[in-house]
């Protein structure tokens, strides 16, 4: 019999029966239809599947769903509130930090985890913060700029 797991995703509770070897990424995408977390390398390298677990960025492809029970999970779908985009989402659009978009959800969630912990990161700290997320389009310059504009709007952002 599959164990019952309570997943708290974007503030909602889901009671699910999941196979013990199911990965959080598969449950999010296939059961909950939250496809913002992308299926990428599935080896913990590319970061396309990044979600926040109790506020920390993790690879959903390298986490058992049963071990995520009772913890707070945030996906890109939970970032906008009342139809209003999160400042990071707006900044990514305004700075042109999105091209094909495949890395974008993970990139934004890693940036959110970074800014929640360190509201005024310098460029090197931003690079470190998104080092678990590969982008094959942009060369990262605009992504880093987008994150910097949000950091500066929060009153930080050392040059």
């Amino acid at each position: 019999m599959n164990p019952e797991v309570t997943l708290r995703v974007n503030g909602r509770r889901y009671e699910l029966q999941v196979r013990p070897d199911r990965l959080l990424l598969d449950v999010l995408r296939d059961e909950l239809r939250l496809t913002g977390a992308r299926r990428g390398c599935e080896t913990g390298y590319c970061g396309a599947c990044t979600v926040l677990l109790d506020g920390q960025a993790v690879h959903a492809c390298c986490l058992l769903a049963v071990r995520a029970g009772g913890r707070e999970i945030q996906t890109i779908e939970g970032l906008a509130s009342n139809g209003k985009l999160h400042p990071l989402q707006r900044a990514f659009i305004e700075e042109g930090a999105v091209q094909c978009g495949y890395c974008t959800p993970g990139m934004i969630l890693s940036a959110k985890a970074l800014l929640d912990e360190n509201p005024a990161p310098g460029p090197e700290e931003i690079r470190q913060g998104i080092s678990g997320n590969l982008c094959r389009c942009t060369g990262y310059v605009k992504i880093i700029r987008a994150i910097q504009t949000v950091a500066q709007a929060k009153g930080g952002g050392r040059p």
């Binding site: 013990p20 070897d21 390298y45 690879h59 058992l64 970074l114 678990g132 997320n133």
Partner: protein, 296 residues
């Protein structure tokens, strides 16, 4: 493909090793899952049971033992080790190595126990653990035992950890007063494991020579090693260009790197010489007491 039948969460170490013993070969321990779950997906491992250790008390956390040693639970994440003021105070080299593991998501989920339990070539923490003289405690149905980290590894992806044993703690002795350390890592991309990693701890004798020195090397043999010949050249000697050069050459002769997509064995040998030399020069110049990482 065989499906995993059950995720089991024992409440005690005895229960855990009892389960592993009675399901020998069919059960696998999952810590942070950063290596295990990849191997499961690639069908390189097909366990019927997954064993989680989260409910066992004392498996996660960092504390100072009665003898002044640093005691780390196996489920402690790399992030927790890198951020720990206690680790930074007396064993900063380990914090520096933990900070170099993979990327933030890997450090947030990955654990020191999992890193040891799945020995990958070029992993960061074991190299620092070698230089810091760490000991690993293992519990099994026949009781508990403690092994030095350099004796923990057997070869490629192999350790002395039996299928019915679990890692219960990693302990680091207090470092003698004045001990300095450095951790250097060379890799191609920021999130890679090390092509070559060097960790050194050096205790001066107060008269300009080394009282004690330990050199850990990673990425250069199937398992992390201690460069004993290089250490012997430097022990009770002064760090000069001449002794540094001899020690670095000795280190090269102690390694048997593998060739893979990231670099040939010959290239890795050259890197050993360069990075052992750099590490020792840094320490000769004073060093900061913490490690530093070389970016490619």
């Amino acid at each position: 493909m065989r499906a995993v039948i059950e995720y089991v969460e024992p409440g005690t170490v005895e229960e855990a090793v009892g389960f592993l013993a009675s399901h020998r070969g069919a059960a696998k321990v999952v810590a942070g899952g950063q290596s295990l779950l990849v191997l499961l997906r690639q069908r390189l491992l097909e366990p019927e049971y997954l064993l989680g250790l989260d409910r066992i008390p004392g498996m996660r956390g960092i504390a100072e033992g009665a003898g002044g040693e640093l005691v780390i639970g196996p489920l402690t994440t790399h992030r927790e080790i890198a951020a720990s003021p206690l680790v930074r105070k007396g064993w900063a080299l380990l914090a520096e190595a933990a900070e170099q593991v993979g990327s933030p998501p890997v450090r947030n989920a990955g654990t020191i126990g999992g890193n040891l339990g799945f020995p990958m070539i070029g992993a960061d923490p074991p190299v620092a653990l070698v230089a810091l003289g760490a000991r690993i405690s293992l519990a099994g149905p026949r009781g508990t035992r403690t092994v030095a980290v350099e004796e923990f590894y057997r070869g490629y992806m192999e350790s002395v950890l039996e299928p019915d044993e679990i890692i219960t703690q990693v302990a680091l002795p207090p470092q003698p007063a004045g001990t300095r350390g450095t951790y250097l890592k060379y890799r191609l991309r920021g999130i890679d494991r090390a092509l070559v990693a060097v960790a050194v701890t050096l205790t001066p004798d107060g008269r300009g020579s080394c009282k004690e020195i330990r050199i850990g090397l990673g990425g250069v043999r199937p398992a992390p090693v201690r460069a004993l010949q290089a250490e012997a050249i430097l022990r009770r000697a002064r760090l000069t260009e001449e002794t540094i050069s001899r020690a670095a050459q000795a280190a090269v002769e102690e390694v048997e790197p593998v060739s893979d997509l990231s670099g040939s064995a010959e290239y890795r040998k050259k890197l050993v010489k360069v990075f052992v030399t750099r590490a020792l020069r840094q320490l000769a110049a004073g060093g900061s007491g913490v490690g530093r990482v070389h970016e490619s």
